[in-house]
Each structure stands twice: as C-alpha cells, then as structure tokens.
C-alpha cells in the first residue's frame, strides 16, 4: 500500500509563503496541514484541506533547534483534529531546491507528538511533511506505532507535478 499526498499548487504556495516569514526568535516557522483521505484497493490518497500556522507566541525559545512548538500549539492542533475529524501533518520548510530530508531532530520530535493525534482522531492518518522550495518529503502514521514514507506527491496545478519518491510503501512498526 502506498500513500499519495495531493494538494493544489495555490495551496502549497500559500503554505510556503507563510513558512518563509521570519519569526522574532525561532530560526524557522512550523504549522500543520489538515488532510482528508480516500482509500483504493492499492493506495491511500491524502488531500490537503487546510493550513494552520503555529501562532507567533506558541513558539518556545530554544536555540538548539530550528523551531520548538509549545504545548499550547500542539493542544490547538489536537483540537482541530478532534473537532473537524481531519488528519494532521506537521509541516516545516527547508529553503533550498530539490528533495528535502528530515533532520535527526525532526525525526526524534515527530515521534513525541504525532502518535498523540490518534488519541483524538484514530480513523485518519497523521504525520509530518518537510517542504523545500520545489519539492517535499513526508512520513505518515497509520496508528500510533506504524509509520511509512509518503510515496508520491501530486501538485495539482499548471503544469501538473507528479513527484514519485523511491519508496516501496513498506510500513515500519515500532513500539
């Protein structure tokens, strides 16, 4: 089973524009993309529905990382998942062209908060996405312990962009 993530070009343009804004002390900005989903016999398709930037005062001043969200930022994101029954994907941006990669810090921090979304919305996948100026990489959780790479990004725009990652769609499970 592969996971396809789909968004309009205009939507991603607005997300990037927001993430590029400087913050008073954080080195980068973060937010959440809410998604709805569809099943096929082979794949799961995630469709970006909304963007929820982390508010300026919901950052913690931590110079050891690019951006640290406060508990309040996570609480607000959990609230959206609960009330709107949507999947929530943490998003940040690396300002270069080409395929971005999650840093070790990104991977460590995701493990701390992404599984919590299944406590409030267990029927939808949640995860994390990192954007570059022209590409993206993502990880998707199917429950609190099963995670896989997003296999394909579709940017619906003119021109249409189909970005197929070298992913076999395998799911890694961890305790």
């Amino acid at each position: 089973m592969k996971t396809i993530c789909r968004a309009t070009g205009q939507f991603l343009k607005e997300v990037r524009r927001d993430l590029e804004r400087p913050h008073q002390f954080a080195a980068e900005r973060v937010g959440f993309i809410s998604v709805r989903a569809a099943n096929t016999s082979e794949n799961i398709v995630l469709m970006a529905e909304g963007y929820h930037p982390v508010a300026d005062n919901d950052y913690v001043d931590d110079p050891t990382v690019g951006a640290m969200m406060s508990q309040e930022a996570i609480r607000k994101a959990l609230n959206i998942a609960l009330l709107q029954s949507v999947g929530m994907f943490h998003v940040h941006m690396h300002e270069h062209n080409g395929r971005p990669n999650f840093s070790r810090t990104d991977l460590r921090e995701q493990m701390k908060f992404v599984p919590d979304f299944f406590k409030v919305c267990r029927n939808l996948p949640h995860g994390a996405i990192v954007l570059s100026c022209d590409s993206a990489t993502g990880r998707v959780w199917f429950n609190s312990t099963a995670v896989a790479d997003i296999s394909e990004f579709n940017i619906v725009d003119t021109p249409m962009k189909v970005d197929i990652l070298n992913s076999n769609g395998n799911v890694d499970t961890f305790a």
Binding site: M1, I4, R6, A7, T8, Q10, F11, V35, R36, A37, A38, N39, T40, S41, E42, N43, I44, V45, M47, A48, E49, G50, Q84, R122, N123, L124, P125, F142, N143, N154, V156, D157, T158, P159, M160, V162, I164
Partner: protein, 271 residues
Amino acid sequence: MMAQSDFSRQSFLGQHSEQTLADTRATIVGLGGGGSHIAQQLAHLGVGRIRLIDPQEIDNSNLNRLVGATAKDVEEKTPKVKIAERLIKGIRPWIEVDVAQADWQNADDLIKDSHVLFGCVDGYRQRMYLESAARRFCLPYIDIGMDVTHLTDEQYAIAGQMIMTLPGGPCMRCMGFLTQERLEREENDYGDAGINPQVVWTNGTLASLAVGQFVRLFTPWFDGSRQFEWLELDGNNQFVARSRQPDYAIRGPCSHFPQTHLGDPFFELKG
C-alpha cells in the same frame, strides 16, 4: 519493455516527458465515440497506466464511431472497456490497463488515485456528477461532449466542447457551462436529431483537443498557465475557438465545491 519504445518524434514535449507520461495514471469514464479515441491517443503517447470505466457492451449503432471496434465485437456484444483495452495493448503491450464494466459510481477505486480524469459521458447531469468526483479527489477534469441540433428541414448544427477544470479554480458551473436551465432542459430532451447523435469525426476532433490539453498540463511543451479551458467546436464550419462565456460568467472563486468536501465521506483506516 520501455526501452523498446521510441518516442523520439515527441521528444520536444520535454526532456523527462517520456518518464512523466509513463508514470501517469489516467482514467477515462465512457468508452464510446469520444473515450475510445482518447484511449487510443493516450496509448500512442505512452501513458503508463490507463483506467477504463464504462458499463455498456457495444451494439450495432456504436460502430459508426467507436475506434477499435469490429463487426465481430457487435456480434459478440463485447464490452466497450474490453475493446479499448485490446486497442491499448495492441499499441503498447507494456501499458497497465485496469477496466471496470460498471457505472463509474461503482468503480471509483479507479478514479481516486489517478492523476487526471477524462469525462466522456452523455448529458449535463452526468458531467456535473463526474466533475464533483474530480473535485472530491483533487483531480484535473477534462470533459468532452457534442450535440446535434435540428435547424430546418434537413439542416443540422453540430457543436461540441472540450473543457478542462482544476481543483481550486472555476468549475463548469462557474464558467456558465452547467446551468440550471440546461439541466432542466435535459430532463425533457437532450439533442433533437434522434437519440444522442454522435459522429466519428467530431468525436475525434474533441478527443484530440482533450488529449492536447492533457499533454499541455503534464509536460513543459507549452506554457499552459490557464487554470481552466473551454474550447468550442463549430462542427458545421469546422473551427475551434476559446469560449467567451467564462469572461462573463466567472464571479470570483468557486463556491460550488467547499474545500472540506474532500476524500471518502466515511473514510476508515484499513487494518
């Protein structure tokens, strides 16, 4: 198998266009006069995965326009999707073809993860439903259709259209193509030169416009920066022009498809 293909004559479509097209999943709903032409052209282009949906079997009245069909198919009542599959496989055997002899509402599995949806259905209401599905699964939608209108005595007007819409952009209702008046009129009478008149050359022209639009959307051959397209075919005078209707009809962002109406309405994670 891809290595045996020679796409040199279409290399102007872009350095990576061969791979882009081979990676593309395209779904065609309706494999009659228009859809069969599109299936054939997508196979020639080298689209790697083609999904075909149509509930019908061929009958004798289809033979005037259904590309790839034979008299034997009529005798054997071959499903239209099977004729299109045979046509595609005959051109490029490596193309993955998925078929559903069903109404598209019962085969949306073949739509959701596609990259583009071609609508070749009869009637305005079916178009409206199919565009709704494209919006729900965030897909470009390319629609073709033709109609024949009785003028006087033995005079008829042939007209058709190719429309492309994108999620987030104006829809066929925003553009003024799908109107309440047309939907109501259809309830009573769609076309007045017999039952849904269709001819091969008009179907072929419209299908070519649709495939051209698709290629423009997926390859860098030409700057296709428009968020929608509506080309009108005057079949009598044999010319195509961009419709002026959207210039007057579009009044701001699309309000017909709320952004929250995405995905399966009752999605459940499997396993």
